[in-house]
């Protein structure tokens, strides 16, 4: 079946639980996700919504699988760009694994459509977000965030 996908792997010097919390808790997301956050209970079957300060609701969907702090699968559709929304739902898998001092984080986002614009869009976004996450967890200083002193950002 024709599909498009984006894969990103990063190794972050932080405990797996902290990486999980940073990915799923709005108070952490707001610090490195360029002000955005997500609302969900992260339980299987739960609603999932993403908000960005400049756009409001940007993406929505449902939690398809959840195994904290190891794995989550999100049914994920863009909501604010008509051409991306028209491509329908993608599936996004987060996988986390502790490897010594590091947490290996793998993001795989897939849509059942060839050359999808949605995948092109997230291919630009994920490296920015995950680089900001690595900086946030390792130094306390995310990208585009000058508000947080290093000490506070860790806890």
């Amino acid at each position: 079946m024709a599909q498009s996908s984006f894969v990103y792997v990063t190794y972050i010097r932080s405990p797996q639980q902290k990486v999980w919390d940073a990915l799923t808790k709005p108070e952490f997301q707001k610090l490195y996700w360029f002000g955005g956050h997500q609302e969900s209970s992260w339980k299987k079957g739960a609603e999932w919504k993403m908000f960005m300060p400049q756009h409001g609701l940007t993406d929505s969907g449902e939690i398809l699988e959840s195994d904290p702090p190891n794995r989550v699968v999100i049914k994920w559709r863009n909501e604010f760009k008509p051409e991306l929304k028209a491509e329908g739902y993608s599936q996004c898998v987060y996988e986390l694994a502790q490897e010594g001092e590091l947490t290996k984080l793998t993001i795989v986002q897939t849509i059942e459509k060839e050359n999808a614009q949605f995948i092109q869009a997230v291919s630009g976004g994920w490296p920015r977000i995950l680089s900001s996450l690595q900086s946030f967890l390792e130094t306390g200083r995310a990208h585009g965030d000058t508000r947080m002193p290093a000490e506070q950002a860790h806890e």
Binding site: R13, L102, S135, E138, R141, H143
Partner: protein
Amino acid sequence: MSDYVYVTYIYTTAQKVWDAITKPEFAHRYWMHTNVSDWKPGSRWEHQHGDGSGKVLIDGTVLESSPPRRLVMTWSRPDHSQEPSRVTFDIADYAPGIICLTITHDQLEHDPAMAASVSGGWPKVLSNLKSLLETGKTENIWLTKGKEG
């Protein structure tokens, strides 16, 4: 499908990223191996084992060199049993104090084993590079699971 692209954003300068790739003692700290060349177009480069043996893990030719912004080189198995692939480093300004580093590893169609190896290796190398430049800390990345690249 066989082109491999990895983008990372780092609090650092373009010159530091360039030095981290091209200076052996710098590369050794996060790649655990070294890259040795005079980095002039047409020159040979070698990816040497970091254990001091000088064992060549990968070699090739420098195709383009524009310090500190762009470096293009071929990437060959030292026995030249397969056609070489190609690696491009692009180092761009992104935001004040932050650079965007893009690695494109292409021409891998003829060597699926190398494609699999480098797609596992680049994230380890580049995450470790970011850690080094932002925190001064690194990990021996080849001791954990995964292939050497």
